[in-house]
Structure formats: C-alpha cells, structure tokens
Subunit: 256 residues, 2 copies
C-alpha cells in the first residue's frame, strides 16, 4: 500500500549514502575476554547447564562494567550458549532432550562434511598439523581433566580447519559447544565428551586419504557420543511438573 508519491522520493531499495564500511578493524565481540572466558568455562564444564550468570558477579569477576557483561551475555544468548530470562537473568543454556538430539544430528552433518573436505584438501602442512596434534593427544596427561577436554575438542576444531571453510569452522565450533552442553545436561557424571580412542583412528584415516573410512569413523564417533547420553527424566523437574499438569488438564487460570 504505497501512497502515490509524485515527487522523486525514493521508496525503492535503500541506497542513500554510499558509505565505505570496510577497511576498519572489525574486531568482533567474539574476541572479547568475557565471551571467551565463559565459552572456555562451558566447554571445560566448569560451568554447568543451568548455572546462574549474575551480571554483578561477572562484572566484578572480570573487572569490567555491567554493560560490557550485558553485551557479552547477549552475544552468548544469540549463540544459544546462555539463556536469558526476562527479569531473571542469564543462565548457562540447558538444551531439552529433543534439542540435544537435534544438535548431535546437526553436528554429525557438519563434521562429516568437514572430514570430506579435509581429505580432499589435505596437503603437507595439513598433514603436519594433524600429526602434531595426534602426538599431543597421545602424550597428554590424562589426569588433567580440563586440559584433556580442551585437547579432544581441539582435534575436531583442527579437522574443521583442514576443511578450509571458515563458515563450516564456525558452525563446528558452535555445535561443539552446544554438544558439550547437551552432554553436560544428560551425561552420566564424569565421563569425557569424546571417547579417547577414536581420534587416532580418524586421524590416521584422514592421513591415509581414505575418505569413506574417515567419514564412517567420524560418524561412528559422534554417534557413540550420542548414545552415551540418556533422557534423564529428572533433569528438568519443572518441565516434568508442567507435563503432569498437562496430563491432568489443570490450568492455573481456570477461567481462561
């Protein structure tokens, strides 16, 4: 319903001001120390799903302002790493069981594609990097649980890097984080995210450029992770309650 505008008013696509937004240091909020801190804390399971992230606490912990914290939390909420509830605050995201399964399925898709591309693009430096990492993982101190978690995560990151696609890499990172949250929510306590034996096999298959084998191994690896989690009925007590109430058919506002 555009009104008649006989003048030369431009009601067509916006191109007022040919600005030049490029060539300026586009330092993203991803590099923010608060964001990175929370991200690594989550991936290392120092922060568990459902944990409250109070603004004042974080501000004093990081020695910064509340606004800064709010920006960081908003960013993490956009990435579904934290959940923001109006007037309640921010909490570490706790995926539902269905979402957890969807996350695993999506990660399978992404990482299989990453292996596919990685095998195709594998070159000298890629092989070197992969070998170096496998060496690290073989020698690492298994008692340092947090370093272990970082290392095993790094393997998947490295594979995504070898795929040579920055967008795919970012998606991998995102889904790994959310996978970590899914596992933390539904795991049997204490187990690592990755079964420790799978990475050498996958790495070897990639190095041998056995694409079908590497893809199969990666898919199996992720499926194995997925099978290690269970619905955990008591996880979200409140959801259970609402489920019960739904069964009964009771509503708080009876008149509505």
């Amino acid at each position: 319903m555009k009104r008649s505008r006989p003048l030369k008013r431009k009601t067509k696509p916006v191109e007022p001001k040919r600005v030049e937004p490029d060539a300026v240091d586009p330092r993203s909020i991803d590099d923010d120390p608060v964001v990175q801190g929370i991200l690594t804390a989550v991936s290392q399971k120092r922060l568990k799903p459902g944990a409250k992230l109070g603004e004042d606490k974080l501000a004093s912990a990081f020695g910064t302002t509340r606004i800064h914290i709010r920006q960081a939390l908003a960013h993490l909420a956009s990435r579904k790493v934290v959940m923001q509830i109006p007037n309640r605050g921010a909490f570490v995201y706790r995926p539902s069981w269905e979402e957890a399964q969807d996350i695993f399925a999506a990660r399978r898709v992404i990482e299989v594609a990453a292996v596919d591309a990685a095998v195709d693009r594998l070159d000298k430096s890629g092989k070197a990097a992969l070998k170096a990492h496998m060496e690290l993982e073989a020698r690492h101190d298994r008692n340092d649980r947090w370093a272990s978690l970082s290392l095993t995560a790094e393997f998947h990151i490295l594979v995504a890097k070898l795929a040579g696609n920055r967008v795919l890499l970012d998606l991998s990172r995102e889904l790994m984080l959310r996978t970590s949250l899914a596992i933390a929510t539904f795991e049997q306590p204490g187990e690592p995210d990755c079964s420790p034996d799978a990475h050498p096999d996958i790495g070897a298959l990639i190095l041998a450029r056995d694409k079908a084998g590497a893809i199969h191994a990666m898919r199996h690896h992720i499926e194995e992770m997925e099978q290690r989690i269970q619905p955990k009925e008591g996880a979200d007590e409140v959801d259970e309650l609402t489920a019960i109430f739904k069964e009964i058919g009771a509503r708080s506002r009876a008149g509505a």
Copy 2:
C-alpha cells in the same frame, strides 16, 4: 560479601544455588519486531549490503528506543547479518568473496542433509504442506518481486522444516540469509536468488521419495546459484588500498 549471619549455618552452599531457570516464557530476541523487520528487509533485498543502519533513524522508524535498537543490532551482528564498526555504527553485512563461497558450500551441506532427512521423514502432512507450497509458487504473481523472493525462500525453509530438526532449520535460515547477502553483494543486478524452475523438480522428487535424485537436484540448484555470482573486482575499493599498503609495508603508526 555476605555479612556475618551467626544464626542458621546453612551458609555453606557449596553448590551455588540450585536455581530453576526453566518453565519461564523464554521469548527470544529473535521474535523482536526490529530484528524481524531488518531480517525480512535484507532477505527481500530492500536493504543492500553496506547500507548504514543508524540507531536514531531505526529508533524513530520503529517507534522505539535506541537501547532496544542497539540490542537488536547486536543480535544481528552475532548472526553476521550486520557488521558493527566501532564508533562508525552498524551496516548491512557485506561478505568477502571467499566468505561468500564458504557460505554457499556450507549451505549445500546443510540443505542436502535437510533433503536427506526430509525424504526419510516424509508423511501425510508433510506431503500436503509441500504440495500446498508448490501450488502457491506455481500460481504466484511474478511481478511482485518482493513476494517472489519471500516465496522462493519459503520453499527452502519448508524443506528444512520437513527434516524435523530444529537446529538444522535454524542453520538453514541463517545460511539462507547470508546467501542472500552474498548474492546481493556479487550478483549481476536484478536476478532472483533462486532460479524459478528448480523448485518444482526438487519438490516432485521429494514427494516421490527419490532420495538420491532429490539430493542431486538440490545440490545442483544451489551450485547454480553459486555460479551466478562473480568476484566483482571493484567491490571493496578500500580493501584494495589496504592491500597496496600492505605490499609496501607501511603502517600508520610508524613508531609503534
């Protein structure tokens, strides 16, 4: 800093407050009208890459406050739909040529997986929805360019929905947006995002549960989009300048 409370000694909460963040209306910022408005404006190419998104302008346009606008822009920046440059403001994201290719590759991966799952999960209601949409697309008014863009986008969304994976659906949405930006940045002017003839074929193959054929058709469809864009040398003039300066090795802060 808790004051001395010598009364009850339940001041030993090693577990930092077992809060219950669930069961509260988690209305995301995705539903925000500002976010949705900018999103649809971008997907319909009313907003072109590089367009400035001034905070005051948007605030008065949407009849809201600057704070609200800032939150929306921050969210869109997290999703790489807008680019925020310090002290300069927010602009519609303009991907580089390399990033555009990566986006297409990632979208291929996601949408092929969506087709795969959609064929597996196809049921009565899915078939009905697909047929209904194909009917719509067949009858739609090709003169209404904006409606056309929305409809063709809706086809891909529908396929992702049929896959039955919410995470995959969100990724599809995100990559479609960014694909739209990539096309808008590097297109020959005036062409639609999707070649109009491909959707009926893909839809028919899905309805026939011809998985291999549907996957092939979808992959081909996206590759065809990809081939329609070109590097556009003069796109980022400023980057060329910085490249020159990098060659020379000059830095603005010589003393540093």
